[in-house]
């Protein structure tokens, strides 16, 4: 590399740094202005979640929900500090430590992925700072501590709900195709247990690795057991589309069910008529009222967990209204939460979990129809 190239690189780096610094300074100046107008003491809450990396779309959509709620709540002297965790345990521990000991936040919304939340929870618990997750559904979070709350129901409940749905539709032999990660494994365990408790039989469970686009081997094994229904648990659109197409290509006559991860427009556009008749259970994507508000603000439909992000902020805002100033106050206030939120009714049980607010959708003519 010659000298001029090196110089160019340095110029680029300095320019990047400079613009960042300048813009940051400007925005912090503005912040100071508003702060002086309202009150001296600012309430600080933190957000941690994936803002970069492959789960960034979840983080961004939750952030939109939070910003919307913040705008509505009219709490003047409130500052939200956003930290990126890339959905990784190590980064989540970095972020939670930074938020608590440097920014001195009194509550944190986050993380998004269950693994990251589980890594951050002991720190929040030890420092006695309330953590409210908007999207972590692992059953293990139930026992993560009394400072850990979530506004999204545990997979244990969706597994129960799914099992009942399949059973009530009259299918007694079920096969499960699930993604081999925290979400898929936890979900399928509960689904199997609940379904067999109801009197059905799970004849085959097959796993695939996240983002693979060939599940033919698994399908051949499933076909061999002749199940009446197949439950697909996946939160990778690429894998879900591949599975649906390959099921159709195999000509399998089987009732199809899916988890909330399949409720994405990518599935409709990717799988086309292969998705017809697919029945989905899904955590609520928001009331019509919320959807309208979101559309008005951002000119787009709410993304995944956006409604839950909105609710996570709202339960905290309710606690602030009750004059909760310390983390312990907030914890106590949250226990008494009774909120008609954007994703349904929010009442925390003694473990900081909410009961499930699920919808059932069916794919008809290339769109998701809410079925009652």
């Amino acid at each position: 590399m010659d000298r001029s190239k090196k110089i160019w690189l340095i110029v680029v780096a300095v320019a990047l740094f400079g613009t960042g610094y300048y813009m940051g300074k400007n925005s912090s100046l503005q912040k100071e202005d508003t702060r002086q107008k309202t009150s001296e003491q600012a309430l600080k809450i933190g957000f941690m979640g994936p803002l970069t990396g492959d789960a960034a779309s979840y983080g961004e959509s939750i952030k939109k929900g939070i910003e919307l709620a913040k705008k509505e709540s009219n709490i003047k002297n409130l500052e939200i500090i956003y930290e990126d965790t890339k959905c990784e345990g190590k980064d989540a521990v970095n972020a939670v430590n930074k938020l608590i000991s440097v920014d001195k936040v009194i509550a944190i919304i986050g993380d998004v992925c269950s693994g990251a939340t589980l890594a951050a929870a002991p720190v929040a618990q030890e420092k006695k700072v309330v953590l409210v997750s908007a999207a972590s559904t692992s059953p293990k979070i139930t026992d993560a501590g009394d400072y850990v709350f979530r506004v999204v129901p545990s997979d244990a409940l969706q597994g129960d709900f799914g099992a009942q749905l399949v059973y009530n539709k009259g299918y007694k032999k079920l096969a499960i195709l699930y993604s081999n990660e925290e979400y898929g494994v936890g979900f399928q365990e509960v689904l199997k247990k609940s379904f067999e408790k109801l009197g059905g039989k799970v004849v085959k469970q097959e796993a695939f690795n996240r983002n693979v686009t060939d599940v033919r081997t698994q399908l051949v094994k499933i076909r061999g057991q002749k199940p009446a229904a197949l439950f697909i648990i996946s939160n990778s659109p690429a894998s879900s589309v591949a599975a649906l197409k390959q099921i159709k290509a195999f000509g399998m006559k089987i009732a199809l069910f899916g988890s909330e991860g399949l409720k994405s427009s990518d599935i409709l556009s990717g799988a086309k008529d292969a998705a017809d008749g697919l029945i989905l259970t899904s955590v609520s994507s928001g009331t019509t009222e919320f959807t309208e508000k979101h559309k008005k603000e951002y000119n787009a439909d709410p993304g995944p967990f956006s409604a839950q992000g909105y609710d996570a902020f709202m339960v905290l805002a309710k606690a602030f209204e009750k004059e909760a100033k310390t983390s312990d106050d907030i914890k106590e206030a949250l226990k008494g939460t009774d909120l008609a939120g954007a994703s349904g009714k929010i009442i925390f049980d003694s473990n900081g979990d909410v009961t499930g607010n699920y919808d059932v959708y069916i794919v008809k003519n290339g769109s998701f129809e809410l079925s009652k």
């Binding site: 590399m1 090196k6 690189l9 340095i10 680029v12 780096a13 990047l16 740094f17 960042g20 610094y21 813009m23 940051g24 300074k25 400007n26 925005s27 912090s28 803002l51 970069t52 956003y82 930290e83 990126d84 990784e88 345990g89 190590k90 521990v93 970095n94 430590n97 930074k98 608590i100 000991s101 440097v102 693994g115 589980l118 890594a119 002991p122 420092k127 692992s138 293990k140 993560a144 081999n180 990660e181 925290e182 898929g184 494994v185 936890g186 690795n209």
Partner: protein, 288 residues
């Protein structure tokens, strides 16, 4: 202050990983892309012994590092027959295999669910639950590892390692069976990484397979290459940069809307500049 102590602990763990990888890559010239797998074996071994069998941290650490060493021995028997590019490819495959074990051996490792609730070390009734106490413990471990590998690389054994790096054929002519030397340093390096893994598991208190992917191995390689190959100081400086730089960027006042993306961008550019100006790393004595 708590935040700084937290970063210091993370730095110490990565410094251990850096030192143990550097003896393999820097001193012996074996481009290994499997360090994260031994990091993982140490973490999983310790976590399982502590959570399921209720062992104390210290015997768990020892057993985990012995297990790491034994696995390294078995794989090393094959791997040490390779050199250069083939060594890198073989070790990469090894990392993928071990990651798959973590992910799929669900009856033991609980697969993607991970293992929560790993506790801090204790000696009798004295618990290292305070972060500052834990930091002292990790720093001691780092110092011991540093001293140990300092002696290894300065000894006549270390000279042979460097000779293998410079010209494996030549040293074979002198009657050294380089295969054994490569195997020995591979096992030592793996045991060191397992020790770092034990501290990692106990500190973070939750581990899952995704912390030990090939990406992590590549990250560790970048860490020692930027810090400086064939230099213990280099490994430690590399860990310092790689742990502190991304955290320091959290404090640059980028605007809220795209702060996270800007941080990644600036981080990347800074690393490129570092490589351009210091191709040998900060304290390196050798380049490939």
């Amino acid at each position: 202050m708590d935040y700084l102590i937290h970063l210091a602990i993370l730095f110490s763990i990565y410094a251990m990983l850096g030192i143990t990888l550097n003896v393999l890559v820097g001193y012996t010239g074996l481009l290994s892309v499997s360090h994260a797998s031994f990091f993982g074996i140490g973490a999983y071994g310790t976590a399982l012994l502590m959570v399921d069998a209720h062992w104390n941290f210290f015997p768990a650490l020892m057993l985990a590092s012995i297990v790491g060493g034994m696995i390294a021995y078995m794989i090393g028997c094959v791997l040490s027959r390779f050199r250069d590019d083939y060594y890198a490819l073989g070790s990469l495959g090894l990392n993928v295999i071990i990651f798959s074990f973590f992910l799929n051996l669900q009856t033991i490792t609980r697969g993607p669910l991970g293992i929560p609730g790993i506790v801090r070390p204790n000696i009798g009734s004295f618990h290292f639950s305070e972060n500052s106490m834990f930091l002292a413990l990790v720093l001691c471990a780092l110092a011991l590892l540093w001293m140990f590998f300092h002696h290894v690389t300065r000894s006549s054994f270390g000279m042979v390692l460097r000779a293998i790096r410079e010209d494996e054929d030549a040293i074979q002519v002198f009657g050294y069976r380089t295969h054994f030397f490569k195997l020995a340093i591979f096992v030592l390096s793996a045991m060191g990484a397992s020790i770092a893994g034990a501290f990692f598991a106990s500190y973070i208190s939750y581990i899952d397979p995704f912390s030990f992917t090939v990406n992590e191995s590549v990250f560790l390689l970048a860490l020692i290459i930027l810090g400086g190959l064939a230099s213990h100081t280099g490994s430690v400086l590399g860990a310092l940069i790689f742990v502190l730089l991304p955290e320091a960027l959290r404090f640059v006042g980028f605007p809220q809307e795209y702060a996270a993306q800007m941080r990644q961008l600036v981080y990347g550019v800074l690393l490129i500049i570092l490589v351009l100006y210091r191709p040998r790393g900060i304290a390196g004595t050798y380049t490939f």
